[in-house]
Symmetry: none
Subunit: 219 residues, 4 copies
Amino acid sequence: MNDEQWLQELLKINDEEVKLSDKQAKILEAAIEMFAEKGYAATSTSEIAKRAGVAEGTIFRHYKTKKELLMAIVTPTIMKIAAPFLAKEFVKEVFESQYSSYEDFIRALMNNRYEFVKKYLPMIRIFWQETAFHSDIKEQIQTVFMENIYGKFKRVIDHFQQKGELADLPANTIIRMTITTIAGFLLTRFILLPNLQWDDEQEMERTIQMLMHGLKKEG
Amino acid sequence: MNDEQWLQELLKINDEEVKLSDKQAKILEAAIEMFAEKGYAATSTSEIAKRAGVAEGTIFRHYKTKKELLMAIVTPTIMKIAAPFLAKEFVKEVFESQYSSYEDFIRALMNNRYEFVKKYLPMIRIFWQETAFHSDIKEQIQTVFMENIYGKFKRVIDHFQQKGELADLPANTIIRMTITTIAGFLLTRFILLPNLQWDDEQEMERTIQMLMHGLKKEG
Amino acid sequence: MNDEQWLQELLKINDEEVKLSDKQAKILEAAIEMFAEKGYAATSTSEIAKRAGVAEGTIFRHYKTKKELLMAIVTPTIMKIAAPFLAKEFVKEVFESQYSSYEDFIRALMNNRYEFVKKYLPMIRIFWQETAFHSDIKEQIQTVFMENIYGKFKRVIDHFQQKGELADLPANTIIRMTITTIAGFLLTRFILLPNLQWDDEQEMERTIQMLMHGLKKEG
Amino acid sequence: MNDEQWLQELLKINDEEVKLSDKQAKILEAAIEMFAEKGYAATSTSEIAKRAGVAEGTIFRHYKTKKELLMAIVTPTIMKIAAPFLAKEFVKEVFESQYSSYEDFIRALMNNRYEFVKKYLPMIRIFWQETAFHSDIKEQIQTVFMENIYGKFKRVIDHFQQKGELADLPANTIIRMTITTIAGFLLTRFILLPNLQWDDEQEMERTIQMLMHGLKKEG
DNA sequence: GATGAATGAGAATTCATTCAT
DNA sequence: TATGAATGAATTCTCATTCAT
């Protein structure tokens, strides 16, 4: 996959084609890199233009303001973060496969998000950093979460609680613990302490085990 | 406790007295508030001056640069975050009390950090936000952690693993999971979703239970 | 010659074309005037902008720093000050013409520099003033002098000493006295006491005579 | 002579006692050093205070403004520069000693000013630099020159012209050439090229010879 | 007299944005 | 569509000066 393909892919939501001119792609790429490195507020549009190899004015031909450029990066990414739950097969499988378990579910989730974070690390970094300052980003996330993830996640939990596999905690608590634990691992792994020697597979499995023991119904 | 006492208290490390002039305290207070709200890079020194009710020049009389002002806020806070481990009694108790357990330890840790985050929320927010951009902050944290926390934390874990209370996971993994889980709860509670209806006591207890079940030695 | 031509001409070294945009020329003109009047340190970029009729930001688009603006004025001028020695004909004539004498040489030098100082007075003023504070300017002058002037000047002196026309003083001493005397006249005439009634031709001739009598070989 | 004595001496004009408090002397000393190094405009009062070891406010207790501090340095120095002509003996000797000649006069002048410049170099530097920007300094110099030096200098020249020792040039021209030549040597020696290897005595003698040959009446 | 905290105007420089080409 | 010169408001920081102690 060449340099621009990953961008095209990220920005393409639900198979809708996105046309990115050459310059536009370079601007986005440059902006993502710099926002991730220095933060939105500390990155100047002229730096972005320089790194993208375009004129300063060109950025504003495509994005009316600097903020709009940020949102152009952030909005499709929000959808992609929610992606597994948007895939019809993903949740269906959980219910339909007779062998499946909550453990399999979070293992699939963990693996899927691990690959995602690894691939789109700079974007994740932007998220982590800018969510705090831009309430509109935070709201978008919450909306997408509530509309596309929450309900499905809850059905999964209900299902496994009915099967007696999960402790009788409120679904919200289980959701929070699951997400917190997975996100906590990924943030530590890729952002907080990326330089440690990580045995990813083992550490992920341990994290899953911890979570499962923590959440399973006590016999 | 009046407005300035909490600041005085925060900046006081290890009982050393800190003399803060009236103006200086107001500058720090204003800076903490604004950095927390809008981020360091997006906050101008003139805004800080205005909110603090001082002339802009006054800020630079006390702090040579804007960055130095940030560090003046951040450095003592790092120590305070590490505080429970710096308190002699805290760790000692864990070993000496015959009734103690890892569960009691993390319960104490959770309660202690819960109060801390609640009290100094704006500072925590600054941390969460600026660590990403300022490698010197990150390094300070890592140094303090390695010098003051890691060893003690490890001894606690060794102790309870020998007592057969904790699973035979590497200490590092247990430390990471413990911190991630507690920090994950506190961040969700106070920063990500502060507007939800939280039954703090119950949720903390559940989080502790989840962690304990996840980490305890399987019989 | 209109207002901008003299600037274009000054900045053009050795026939290399210099493209100065309209605004850029106005900035340089304004800067030269103000630096000459008030000195570099006492002139603010906002004043320069105002006099040049451009926005303050425009200055910094063309010159990264105020210092760079100074150097853009000063560097080509240094070459121009050395100019007569850079002209092939100038020194050649001295040796080839059978009628030439050291007196003719310094007369040519005096006339040439007189016209130069008269024409570019503000720049000379800047030089006189700023050399003291900016060692880089001083070094540039010394380098240009050593590389382009000193050797040629010395050859002229050797030549006329061999012809028995000049006293047997060290060449360095003769160079210093010649330059000091000419420069001393020009500074007094144009900078220290420009308001006196000067009969330029007569005073120059007297200066030349004084110098020649002072330097000629005693019979 | 200790550190402060030279200052006391410089500031004392015509035997009038000057009372300089300890702090005041330190301020003047520091100001002289810094103005000489970086120029008046580029030196801040806080730097002066720091170098003088006094509080910022103390400077303004003694000198209402920064400019006044400059003038406090510059004004007595102007008198001292004119000093030899102020000494009754100096000019009288020229006329009364039967052995004296214009050469002896300029030799005395040269030696006297050589010692002065050597001793008070920083002050000379301030002069050289600030005269250009402060017309009041320039005016002071001209006034002192016209009132105290010019007439006496002219009498000296008239005297030696009548004795047939000096060429029949206008007195003004001879004065200018004499001063230019002496000042030119001293500036080159101490300010422009102080790092060269100078054989001061020889070079001064040569300068005097050059000047004398240049100015003497042709037989 | 001396201090040094405080000031606010002003310094150099940066920046998002516009617009004529 | 792309450019990049131009803008002027805003930013960080400095400075001469004041004034309460």
